[in-house]
Amino acid sequence: MSQDPEATGGLLLDMRSVQKKFAGIPALADASLQVRPAEVHALIGQNGAGKSTLIKVLTGYHRKDAGVVLFEGRPFEVASPHQAQVSGISTIYQEINLVPLRSVTENICLGREKRRYGLLDWSAMHEEAERLLSRFSIRLDVRRPLGDFNTATQQMVAIARATGFSARLVIMDEPTSSLDDREVAVLFDVIRQMKSDGISVIFVSHKLDELYRICDRVTIMRDGRTVRSAKMQEIGKLDLVASMLGRDAAAVEGHATAFGARDHVGKAEIMFSSQELAAGQAVRKVSFQIRKGEIAAFAGLLGAGRTETARLVFGADRPKAGEMSIEGRPYLPARPADAIAAGMGFCTEDRKAEGIVPEMTVAENITLALLPKISRNGIVDEARQREIAERFIRDLGIKCSGPGQKVRELSGGNQQKVLLARWLAMDPKLLILDEPTRGIDVGAKGEIQRLIRRLADEGLGVLMISSELEEVMEGADTIFVLREGVSVASLEGESASEEEVLAAMAHGSAETAENAGE
């Protein structure tokens, strides 16, 4: 617990020694957070450090057990997020909590509609929506349904909505997790604009680089406590990570990722190959090969067709043209079950929507794809299921109370491990990992990266999709760069430079390309 010497008076938000227990277990033991007016304040910590709980206490989802919360110098306790919003604290969540089918205007004005003679005054509301958006130099047809726009725009709408409530503090929970670099730049411009308007921002993110770009101060949490609070420039990246993990700075020195050294697999046999795969707009001409025991990675901007290609490989969608082969045999899956039968696994990008079955237990989730193999005459062998689940809980270090715990109660990193376990239990030949470390805290991230390398060393072919360049650069044996649905370059992971990869991503430059599309 560190007391900030400057933190006396003039604070917008002052939370001190906040405590909160769930079912007797402390989620917040001693949490403090001080935010000044017109500052961007980073709130970081591993999953389970208590960031979300602290925010939920502030916004009225949870009631604190003990501690002090002052907002604008007055004691602050609200009973609901709506009340918090009205009082000047708005939250913008990871999954945008707006209504996609309703118009932009309706979303911005929801909860504070303008009325005239008892009827909704639409033209006034449209004007208001346009006015709020224009402050961030965003122009769009506010009459169109929100769902027509991409995630980045929807986020801007959420921010405009927050400022419409004359928010003085806006909480952003991982706002950049589904944005590409250009969109992040726009978001940061918006945040700077908010700052100059006197609005403070609490910025929750796992992407450290971004914190240095946009944040003024940082509060680090660990195990329900605030362990450090400092000016952003005064704390080094390594120091930051070390504080989050509660480890010695020296222990995390070296590589930014935890993949470790590559084996030389250059001469291993080709396990999977695709020739000029195409489907719809997203995938136009993608060719790549994966060798046995190799980590191949797709690099590319958002919308380059990486996930879409992975879905074709796994039989979730059908290709319109092109050929695929696995271990030299032609391969054309009609459904995921075919891909699974051919020895593939697919950890999707969207854990919640496409991965876990939240109401099921850890064991049931792990054995979901394995069911036919652990049952006789249609009856599940519960003992074997338990045994398999326990083995993976141990091997992957899944933190849970046991195989019988519901998977929705686990943290994001542990849910991801459960999904990895689901496919590893199948003993696959090829594993597709779409953003395997997205939204996961630094510690679990390292564990998963080490695990991926270990599996590849054991002979598994891995196709990894990652939006984090350093993950691709340090993890992959071969990098396939995709640009607008075309595989424009294939690079050796070891010899490739970041500049080469970026150049291919941006221009599709043939400098280093072997199988350029056009």
Binding site: L368, L371, V380
Partner: protein
Amino acid sequence: MRQWPMVAQKRQRTPVSESAKQSVAARGSRRGFDIYGLLSRYGTLIALLVLVAFNLAFTTNFATMQTLNVNLTQVCTIVIVAIGMTMVIATGGIDLSVGSLMAISGALAPMIFMGKILPIGNIYVAVAVAMVVSIIVAGLLGVFNGWLVARFRIQPIVATLVLFIAGRGIAQVMTNGNLQTFRVPEFQWIGLARPFGIPAQVIIMAVLVVIAAWAINRTTFGRNILAVGGNETASHLAGIPVSRVKLAVYAISGLCAGLAGLVVIAINSSSDANLVGLGMELDAIAAVAVGGTLLSGGRASIIGTLLGALTIQLVRYTLLANGVPDAAALVVKAGIIAAAVWIQQNRTA
């Protein structure tokens, strides 16, 4: 961190009775937080016990074999239909057509065993053919429901509305709208026989409940049902044959409805296409909801459905036995359903 081993040691040393008290106390402190979770798990059972206690105290002649049999006989058809409904709802669907399917099987069976379609000399053969064919026809109509839902991705409530409306019409056309009456003990055992003093349909219901509960909890099929209801996309990507699972649950729902239709006409000694299974879909859905199965899918309790049906039945009986008219009982039934759904939605853990 140092507290944990200490706690563990303390527990080991304390005598059993005391440690039991401690753990009860520990759970008691959590109860305030998770009262709805507790209610959603045991609420139906508690309600049922309260009702029984109330009747023991205030309703005359409640604790008799006859009362038990009356209630069980009346609840049987609802439970049989609700078993299929539980499975459908567990996949995230719903089946509105069950009442109409009951009418179809109830209309078809007498036509066969009374020789209206083709003459079969031996009455036992005729009854056997009648029962098997009518149940299978209902099952096939269930497959049709499943086909609409799985193949064309029509919303279940709309897809099954087709047969909800058309089914009863089909039954009426089959019988020209006539009431079929019969006195065929070889068939009517299904609703009237009492081996060991227990009504035959109660035995059938009990067997089905046991099989269904076992299937949900122990078989891959049951697991697939819950997976599809819990997260359809994830299930598809995990290689689960989602369409086949859906076809199967609607088929089972159809089979259950077909069987229930036979039980109803056996009890009545007659079949009226206008009345058999009328409103059954709502009774079955109510039983499932009160029984604690998530209406959004992913969680199912057959025993809960049984308890739910019993609760609704006993409420109705209690009110009737104490002189409250049936119409008023409907309002109370609605209240119970509302309460059950409310508890579900407030479930925190």
